[in-house]
Amino acid sequence: MLFRQAGIFHTDYATNRALFPLPADRWMIIILLLLALSAPFTMSSLLLSTNVLPWLVWTSAALGLNLILGWAGQFHFGYAAIMGIGAYTAVHGARNGIPWEIAVVLGGLMASVIGVVFAFAALRVKGLYLALSTLALQYVMDWVISHVPAISGGTQATLQAPGMRLLGQAVTSEIALYYVALGWCLIVTVFMLNLRRTALGRALVAVREKDFAAAVIGVHSLYYKLVAFATSSFIGGISGAILIFTFYRAATPEQFAVNVSIELLAMVIVGGLGSIIGSYFGAAFILLMPGLMNSLIAWVAQLMGAALGVEALAHIPHAVYGALIIVFLLVEPMGLGKMYNNLRNYLLVWPFGYARK
């Protein structure tokens, strides 16, 4: 109902290839943007700073991972390590007096450099073996971060992030932090949206589908794999830095451990490979669902009069999270993004379903 294709005729390529060719979509984006911008004034500050803000940052990270996994088709089981490199570089930079913006970009660049190391594995092997080698690299990074005091910040292994100053202005209030996270998320989203319209995006998709076939038609697959890893790591590194500065406020190695990598993968898979809106859904789902389910289970248990131990309550969210991954792979392997698209396609021509292509 909302989306009507009737009466929309594109008369040139520019309108046809616009990011949102349908006016209905454009209106929806504008409304969503307004909602996002006004969120600090309409939502409780608790909701904003504990749910919405991390959701935006994790979405940026998931989008970065989606670039490498969904677009370039290269497995990356060590994305959290990349985020960690960005975060630690930025925090160390900021602590040593480098302006915040430059420190964060440095973090992104450092992550890119290390990300290219991951890419060398991708040049040699693919598929399962790439997954395993990036997973192993994650372990190595974990180890290095936690065992080198110069990086992790000493024995207690917590590195306090200094206060943020954006363009000379101190950013301290929760609302300001929220806008920083929102801004970064929007930048990444716009980049990803435009990617499919660029030669780079098409080359990445060609490499994903069959790298040697891409090579035969003149796409330098090794080069594009490197570019994909570097770009995706840059996004990941900056997302990691922003996560520390706006949310955690202090960096510890566990924030970027192997289970975080898997969580990110789960966001991308549950959201849908290569789907941008899916990354938003996936991040929200993985972040919020286990907690919600836990409250639900605790509530049901209370209703039934059964007492759940503290330990059980602590582990149920993980079980739910594992089960969610399993259920999603069984029910809709293309994820929430695909579900959204199905719904949208249905509404596009509703109630004239037979008019669908």
């Binding site: 190595v140 789960a266 582990h315 969210p317 079980a319």
Partner: protein, 295 residues
């Protein structure tokens, strides 16, 4: 260099390595018969340990009764996993299958923790604590038992893969469609491989449980299992044994000399580095088959 220390590190490393092989064999078993890389093998090992303890504790059965019962239970668990989680994924991209096994890993671990809690539970197999003396070298008896079991299982599976059923399983891992076309029940074959692998996981869980008790850390054996499986070649049972030996010795010696330098905890680093180097230098491992991608 102190030769006795080196010898002790090496021989205990070898024994530990063979126990890693037990975990790796489960991974190889599934990969060899359905081309699925099972990243849930660590969790299955842990679950195996817990099931043994649950049967022993719940029904007061002695361990020698509880262990066979647990093996049978885990056999069914393996069948169930295939039926619920993997059957519908046949023919899907490898990333989906990897994610599925990771999801299983998380689910099994968290569910076990929910049911049994996080405290370490001892598993008394009645193997004496006094070390075995081999000349000047000290040997942990449990590791010796583990090594013997690992080698026995290796021989068993070597024979199994020469039987008709074993050949059928290998055929399935080669080509699902071709297997269907000659009347092989692919689903049943995959279920059998998961069941056998779960049985192996239980064996590993019992032995590792008797070494370090049963708790969540058993699931961390996954990294070691994967490293051994890849080093040996993902579809080679013999490779898993030899790679276990090699990796065990290497890890024991390397971490024995590295630990004092970096303040402990270098085992995982050594394992992860071995895994990376194996994949970069020889992805199909020592004895794995070479897959040729057809254009």
């Amino acid at each position: 260099m102190d030769l006795t220390l080196f010898g002790e590190l090496a021989i205990n490393g070898a024994m530990t390595g063979l126990m890693y092989s037990l975990v790796a064999m489960g991974i190889v078993l599934i990969y060899k018969s359905s081309a699925v890389p099972n990243l849930a093998q660590g969790a299955m090992t842990m679950l195996g340990g817990y099931v043994v303890l649950a049967i022993a504790g719940g029904f007061g059965a002695p361990l020698w009764v509880a262990i066979p019962l647990a093996l049978a239970t885990m056999f069914l668990v393996g069948v169930g996993i295939e039926r619920v989680a993997l059957r519908r994924l046949a023919g899907r991209p490898i990333i989906m299958i990897l994610m599925m096994t990771l999801g299983l890993d998380i689910f099994v671990r968290a569910t076990s923790m929910t049911i049994w809690g996080g405290t370490n539970r001892p598993m008394q197999l009645g193997i004496s604590d006094t070390p075995l003396f081999l000349g000047p070298l000290l040997l942990n008896r449990t590791y010796v038992v583990g090594a013997v079991v690992a080698i026995a299982l290796f021989v068993l599976f070597l024979l199994f893969f020469r039987t008709r059923m074993g050949i059928v399983l290998r055929a399935i891992s080669d080509d699902y469609t071709a297997s269907w076309s000659v009347g092989i029940s692919v689903e049943r074959g995959v279920a059998l491989s998961w069941a056998l692998s779960s049985v192996v996981a239980t064996t590993a869980g019992v032995l590792w449980g008797s070494v370090q008790g049963v708790d969540q850390s058993l699931a961390l054996l996954l990294l070691k299992g994967v490293a051994v499986a890849v080093l040996g070649g993902l579809d080679s049972i013999g490779g898993a044994i030899l790679a276990g030996l090699l990796l065990g010795i290497f890890e024991g010696v390397a971490s024995g000399y590295l630990d004092p330098l970096v303040g402990g905890g270098s085992r995982d680093l050594v394992i992860a580095m071995t895994l990376i180097l194996t994949i970069l230098i020889r992805p199909h491992g020592l004895f794995g088959r070479h897959d040729i991608e057809r254009i």
